[in-house]
Symmetry: C2
Subunit: 434 residues, 2 copies
């Protein structure tokens, strides 16, 4: 069990490389450079690769051949060019041999995602937690870890089976647990909504998956969601962003210059408890005016009748959201008033994040993302109005990935291992499904 999916070895100030460059390291670094380039920019000819990366054509040819033997790239269709001359062959990331798995374990659902190196989702499944366990558990909000982990292991085993059947080697599995992570121990400290304390997730899952399982890592859902959204924004040159999760709690995943800002012990982005009003509502953390008390999903539910189906923790999250949507479209005045206040309070907290981090984009996830049509425009206008400098403008959008963001990000984080060190992938001559 590695302690984190995405932590880098933590180089000292300014020292961007942890290791010296010898000939072997140079080859490995250039393999990684080429693979990342293809991964980010898409398929292109060897000549284009040489031109864009600054590597010699001979080097590109030799490196591409290595990457192909590792099953990481493949030859593609003839590249269309406007000029005369011999048409080039396109090299692109291969979807055939390498994949990563992400799994979000949430109080509402288990979502798993198997994604190949080319970015294609090859298998996904989502199970509403209440449905998983209602048969066996009396109190639907306090799930015994053993039962949940059995189900998680089953869902992982299904994904691994799909991978094996399709000849995909799985580079790793990243799990987003429903509470703060003990990165050292690979456990979840507390999952208040599940009634859990110090559950050794990594160890328990490793035991259930057997000795042959891929590397398992834990990472926070907001951080993984930020990683999942990153490629969409990176294509437009945006590498500084904050992803906001919106559920009972609120969390943030922060990318700066394309790098995940984890904080020194992995607890960056705990924005649900930033104090924005000393005279505000008392939070379950004991303090007053935490952002969560203003924008958490509970604040929406609180305006509904006690027996409203949206308030039922027994229903899957998506059903509850759809029910709210129906009420909103029917013009429910309590909800419309709530959403007006929500915009103001979202802007207050996002304003703090903008002042501290100066991101180029804010991505609204969770229930904020589900109601992006109601929130994005209004939040954007209010942020524009509070702006100090024109080039500090931040762009607000809804998550494109919905409730699967963390699982997709988990798969991406697992694939990072191969992008960083392509030589991890087993050569094609070996058993690709090992």
């Amino acid at each position: 069990m590695t302690s984190s999916a995405t932590s880098s070895p933590g180089p000292g100030r300014g020292s961007r490389r942890a290791a010296p460059v010898g000939h072997a390291a140079m080859r490995s670094a250039n393999l990684s450079l080429l693979l990342r380039h293809l991964h980010t920019r898409g398929g292109r000819s060897r000549a284009t690769l040489a031109q864009e990366t600054g590597l010699s054509k001979a080097s590109v040819t030799s490196l591409v051949s290595d990457l192909a033997e590792l099953g990481l790239v493949q030859e593609g269709q003839v590249e269309r060019r406007g000029t005369v001359g011999r048409p080039g062959t396109e090299v692109r990331i291969s979807p055939l041999h390498v994949a990563g798995i992400g799994l979000e374990l949430n109080v509402d659902y288990l979502a798993v995602c198997l994604r190949d190196l080319a970015g294609e989702v090859r298998f996904t499944s989502s199970v509403p937690m209440p449905y998983v366990l209602d048969a066996t558990v009396a109190d639907g909000r306090a799930y015994p870890p053993g039962l949940v982990l059995d189900r998680v292991a089953q869902q992982l085993a299904e994904s691994l089976e799909v991978a094996s059947r399709e000849g995909l080697w799985v580079a790793g599995v990243t799990i987003a647990p429903p509470g703060p992570i003990d990165y050292e121990g690979g456990s979840v400290r507390v999952a208040a909504n599940l009634g859990w304390t110090d559950v050794p997730l990594g160890e328990e899952l490793a035991a259930r998956l057997g000795p042959e399982h891929p590397a398992l890592s834990l990472e926070n859902d907001a951080k993984l969601s930020a990683l999942a959204e990153a490629p969409r924004l990176a294509r437009r040159g945006i590498t500084d962003l904050v992803y906001l999760t919106g559920d009972m709690g609120v969390g943030a995943g922060i990318l700066a210059e394309g790098r995940l800002i984890r904080g020194w012990s992995g607890f960056s982005g705990e924005v649900g408890h930033i104090g924005l009003d000393p005279a505000g509502v008392r939070c379950r953390c004991g303090r007053r005016g935490c952002w969560e008390t203003m924008v958490g999903f509970d604040t929406v539910l609180a305006v509904l009748d006690e027996d409203d189906p949206a308030r039922s923790g027994r229903l899957p999250m998506l059903d509850r959201l759809e029910h709210l949507r129906v009420l909103l479209e029917a013009g429910d005045p309590r909800l419309h008033e709530r959403f007006t206040l929500l915009v103001d309070d979202l802007v207050r907290g996002i304003g703090v994040l903008v002042d501290v981090l100066n991101p180029q984009a804010i991505v609204l996830g969770g229930y904020f993302g589900y109601f992006a049509d109601l929130l994005v425009g209004r939040v954007q206008s209010a942020l524009d109005a509070r702006l100090l400098a024109a080039d500090g403008r931040v762009e607000v959008s809804g998550s494109a990935l919905g409730l699967d963001a963390a699982a997709i990000g988990g798969a991406a984080a697992a694939l990072e291992r191969v992008l960083e060190d392509p030589l991890l992938a087993p050569p094609l001559s070996a058993d690709a499904s090992a």
Copy 2:
């Protein structure tokens, strides 16, 4: 004029290197690796260098010889070893040939710092702004840019002269201006306290310094101060920190994994205007409850008599602080009450930064740092009490560099250019003072 002292070329997500590794790049990267290692860890033998960096002994010998020819390292005293055998010779950073200059241009003072590559401050001078210009300007708080820039250029010319006299090649000059920077244009947008708008600092100084001047960059004072404090903390393994400036305004310099977090347009750390109380005092920015209205230097001055010398903008900052110190030591009840409230309000804002960034250390600068003895212990206790997880503990300290922090950081930022690319330094055979 380069647009920023410290921005990296902005690699895409995960792509940590911008360039491929060829043999020339490999040599340059390894020169940088060795030089940084010596810079961070101090002098050591070739054998120790090989062992610690993973480079072969032959490579180390050859690279050290290159660095010596560039005047970047020198042979030192015999290294004491507990074992028998031939005593090694120590290689260490040379203080003789390469330096950087930092200059802080502030409403209160101009401070300049010439620092050699070995970290020694070779020349420093600080001039209280009121003294600079009182003779020529009627209204002491609205200084014409031309006059100020003449004085800045004069101070820079003095430092360059010292450098030239001592045979130091100046790698660059970094200037911390008194307001938000237009990084593209190398200008200061607004310096409210000086009555400035859109002053093209870089261009104006370049013109005054003549064609032979070193590379000029602008960077924010809080960011430079964070860079200046970083080595002290890095020696204890701390690479995630927030430096807080305390003056009329409040700003933050953020380092994550040793890297400066600048934000996408350079405006990270604008923490003076984070809104912490919707019912709070109206800020000069127009909003209510900005952190600055609670902890800015004005809040301290406001409790004093109108004619108290500490309130006089005509006095140098240090004199005003010393006067406050005398009042505090005499038991002034208004100031003691103010400092009690200040601790609470500092903790509220720092709490937000801790939740968002999860730094390992908070460094108090400016007037917070000057009164570190009164603030650090109490802020630390209050932060410890609000902690959610034990390993999220953040350590509070006062800046060790006082009001010179930004100038020292500016010199360090200028020297970064050589640490990143040692081949920038002119070989010793050439004129070292060019």
